[in-house]
């Protein structure tokens, strides 16, 4: 293999491994929930085994030894689990979830050393879980079944186990004989699986030589079911299907042992009445027209998705931007022609064509934006694992309720959102939700509820994180702020309830005196707020003592195209993302004061530091304009007013990177093309506010760097 092929295959491996790990995580969460409810689907456990097994296989092939070793260790555990040699306990689930975390980390870095995973310790944990449970098997009930060795000899270990386990539990085994067209076999089998699922379990499919021809195949499907032959026949209702029970040799079945896993379908149904002889063939006729379109279905069942690098989409978006500029050039041209004698007709035609062009361009742009969207469900699953882990670490019981996981957000935003959300959730469980005992004393249900709710609201997406915990006391928050030296007692006393809640976003604020392992990772809610502001979003908090706390995050749907306020400073235009703009006010020079060498303004009782963009960017002008404006921005707990000469209104803009040579120029999020050959720099408000407020001189950003 050449190097190029190698790296391409490696990417392919990483992408595939990522998908497997995501599926693994999903299945694990389902099993975790099922375990709590005492009804685990063995198929689901087998699915998890298969995922890890596949992961191990591909890791070995692509030489990712760390993932391979990890998968190998987990595979043994899962093998025992699916063969029911050990029971599915919360401890076993802990280890499995830990395994998923390790996989995730390994996929992000390149090898185990960088990921900082202690494999030995993990292997030991697996050993402990395995050691804590013994296992044993007795007698072979399969011998009682009237099944040829030719059938038994083609069962895999797992299938044999499922068959044995069903026989032991007294579940009936049936042979379902089907003749299916080869061409549409996939859809026919999906259909069969769906019909069998509510009434039983498919053990295996045995292709048979008899009765097949070039276009058809005859299959024998072994099904375990507690239903009667008639009920099973009615449930399956396949054309040309024949069903017969597999007879039992000898008399008394082994008494069913207590199963470690329960089949949902077994719970309600009474034990099966053994069927002694062959009954009549159950051949129910399906409703007319039911299986007409198998052929079409199977042809369509090929995968219809492609993976696309987000940079390719950025490139397309840039091309759209270029097209928009070309379009405005054409508009100008057609306007010019209109005033030229004899060319009016031509100008009108051009104008009409141009309108069609504009419409299609807009559609193209929306299409690209749409492709970038991914459902928030992706991070919600990750968060569900965090919830489980943090709750267990703290001895708290938390039920996670998720709504709106299908809500879509730009891929880049989703990536950046997981850290802030994780932090809020850790906080909610650590500080918000009380221990079961405390909750009972407060006459609340012992299991706390954490609700994640997402929905779209116009061009924004709202994510709410709500807990039913202890809530926050504004008075305590005020006192803490004073103790931390963030506010004077007088200033603290003046804060409204809402302002007091917002104190948690102030740098250096932490409501608990001891920093716990979980929330205290060196970041506070101020970082959360800043990170969300970077995404052009805002975060709000509401709380009620004893009832709970609710965080509301409002984000733009995409970063590829944002709404911006266009302003002019000296002779240049700048774009300020609208999400960073609180308000714009008329600048009154008289109101300016100087505090510690800085210009400030008192706005509705609060002090607002002022930044003169012309000075900051070194833009000279012949004379001070008579009238100026202040654009008021808020990032985290900090506010800042930017002095500008003119407000030019709002516009949707595509932000383009400044390119590698200007990467070091701080204070700009990029540039945008406004059409009409006008270019504006996009102001990175969070960066400016942060740096200016923390006293850093950005250095003067000179206009020489761009033109």
């Amino acid at each position: 293999m050449t190097g190029d092929e190698g790296s391409g295959m490696r990417e392919e491996f990483l992408a595939e491994a990522q998908e497997i790990v995501e599926a693994l995580s999903r299945d694990l969460l389902i099993v975790d929930q099922a375990q709590k409810e005492g009804r685990v689907d063995p198929q689901q456990v087998n699915e998890i085994f298969r995922s890890v097994h596949t992961l191990k296989g591909i890791a070995g092939m692509f030489g990712h030894s760390a993932i391979g070793a990890l998968a190998h260790g987990l595979e043994d555990l899962l093998d025992d689990l699916r063969l029911e040699r050990i029971a599915l306990t919360p401890e076993v689930l802990d280890v499995l979830f830990e395994g998923v975390e390790h996989f995730q980390r390994l996929l992000q870095v390149d090898d185990g050393a960088e990921a900082g995973i202690d494999f030995d310790a993990f292997a030991k944990r697996i050993g402990q879980v395995l050691g804590a449970q013994g296992g044993g098997r007795s007698g072979d009930p399969l011998a009682m079944l009237d099944l040829d060795d030719s059938v038994l000899s083609v069962l895999t270990e797992y299938e044999e186990h499922r068959l044995r386990s069903n026989v032991e539990s007294g579940v009936g085994i049936y042979r379902v004989r089907l003749r299916l067209p080869l061409l549409s076999i996939d859809s026919s089998l999906e259909d069969l699986k769906a019909r069998v699922k509510p009434v039983g379990e498919i053990i295996t499919y045995l292709p048979s030589m008899e009765g097949g021809d070039a276009e058809h195949i005859e299959l024998v499907v072994l099904v375990a079911s507690t239903e009667s032959l008639r009920a099973l026949g009615e449930a399956i209702a396949f054309e040309d299907a024949s069903i017969e029970p597999v007879a039992r040799r000898g008399a008394t079945p082994v008494p069913p042992r207590a199963p470690t896993m329960t089949h949902p379908e077994n719970l309600a149904a009474p034990p099966r009445v053994p069927v002694e002889t062959r009954h009549e063939m159950a051949t129910p006729v399906p409703p007319a027209g039911q299986n007409v379109s198998f052929d079409q279905l199977s042809v369509r069942s090929v995968a219809k998705t492609v993976r696309v690098d987000i940079e390719k989409l950025d490139h397309l978006m840039n091309v759209v931007g270029e097209l928009a500029i070309i379009r405005s050039a054409v508009v100008r041209l057609s306007e010019g022609l209109r005033n030229t004698a004899g060319l009016r007709e031509l100008a009108i035609d051009l104008h009409r064509i141009n309108r069609g062009f504009e419409r299609n361009l807009l559609e193209l742009q929306n299409g690209i934006l749409d492709v970038r969207m991914v459902p928030l469900g992706q991070i919600f699953e990750k968060l569900a694992r965090i919830v489980r882990q943090v709750a267990r670490e703290h001895g708290k019981e938390v039920r996670l309720v998720v709504a709106g996981k299908e809500t879509e957000v730009d891929k880049l935003i989703v990536e950046e959102l997981s850290d802030p959300l994780m932090h809020i959730i850790r906080n909610a469980i650590d500080h918000g939700i009380e221990s079961p005992k405390v909750r009972e004393l407060a006459e609340k249900p012992p299991v706390g509820t954490l609700a994640l709710n997402a929905y779209q609201k116009g061009k924004h997406v709202v994510i709410e994180v709500e807990d039913d915990g202890a809530g926050m006391n504004p008075q305590t928050l005020r006192e803490t702020a004073v103790r931390r030296g963030l506010l004077t007692p007088e200033a603290a006393a003046e804060l409204t309830r809402e302002e007091a809640y917002n104190l948690i976003f102030a740098p250096g604020f932490s409501t608990k005196s001891s920093i716990t392992e979980i929330s205290g990772r060196g970041v506070g809610m101020d970082v959360v707020k800043t990170n969300i502001a970077r995404l052009g979003g805002v975060i709000d908090v509401q709380s009620e003592v004893g009832t709970g706390t609710k965080f509301t995050i409002t984000l733009p749907v995409t970063l590829a195209m944002i709404n911006a306020l266009l302003v002019r400073v000296a002779d240049r235009e700048f774009a300020v993302p609208i999400t960073a703009v609180q308000e714009a006010i008329v600048f009154e020079k008289r109101a300016i004061r100087r505090v510690e060498g800085r210009e400030v303004l008192t706005l509705r009782g609060a002090t607002l530091p002022i930044c003169r963009l012309d000075e900051l960017f070194g833009l000279g002008r012949p004379q001070e304009p008579d009238r100026q404006f202040i654009v008021v921005s808020e990032v985290g707990a900090r506010r800042m007013g930017f002095v500008v000469d003119e407000l030019h209104g709002q516009q949707d803009i595509v932000i383009k990177s400044l390119g590698p040579s200007l990467q070091k120029v701080r204070g700009f999020a990029g540039a945008t093309d406004l059409g009409d050959q006008r270019v504006a720099l996009v102001i990175d408000v969070p960066a400016l506010v942060e740096e200016l407020a923390s006293g850093n001189e950005l250095g003067r950003i000179t206009a020489g760097g761009y033109s």
Partner: protein, 114 residues
């Protein structure tokens, strides 16, 4: 996984590789063509690899097609059953490109190794 096997074989021996994502897909492909070798994973989503081997051995067209089974080293029973059913070789996952080439070379009649 299949992509890996395909890449290895194509590069190695200018082979024409036909992939099947499941046992049933294999059933669909098998009657239509003759193969020099079949590489069969025991754990397939629907019909398992053992059944596929058994089916091949019973069919006139593929009674003699060399079969290489793939599974985990842990599954001894699967390995024994596979060989008993008429598989010509067995390879446990994970395996290297070299191991695959070697095994295929072993079971491929009249083919020089390497």
């Amino acid at each position: 996984m299949r992509a890996f096997v395909r890449a290895v074989l194509e590069e190695w021996g200018d082979a024409e590789v036909v992939e099947a994502a499941s046992g049933f897909e294999a059933l669909r492909v098998l009657p239509r063509e003759a193969f020099d070798v079949a590489i069969v994973d025991v754990n397939m989503p629907d019909i398992n690899g053992l059944e596929l081997v058994s089916f091949m051995r019973k069919s006139a067209a593929h009674a003699k097609t060399p079969v290489l089974m793939i599974s985990t080293e842990a599954a001894h029973t699967d390995r024994e059953r596979g060989l008993a059913l008429g598989a010509n070789g067995y390879l446990s996952k994970p395996f290297t490109a070299e191991a695959l080439r070697e095994k295929v070379g072993e079971i491929l009649p009249g083919r020089r190794e390497g």
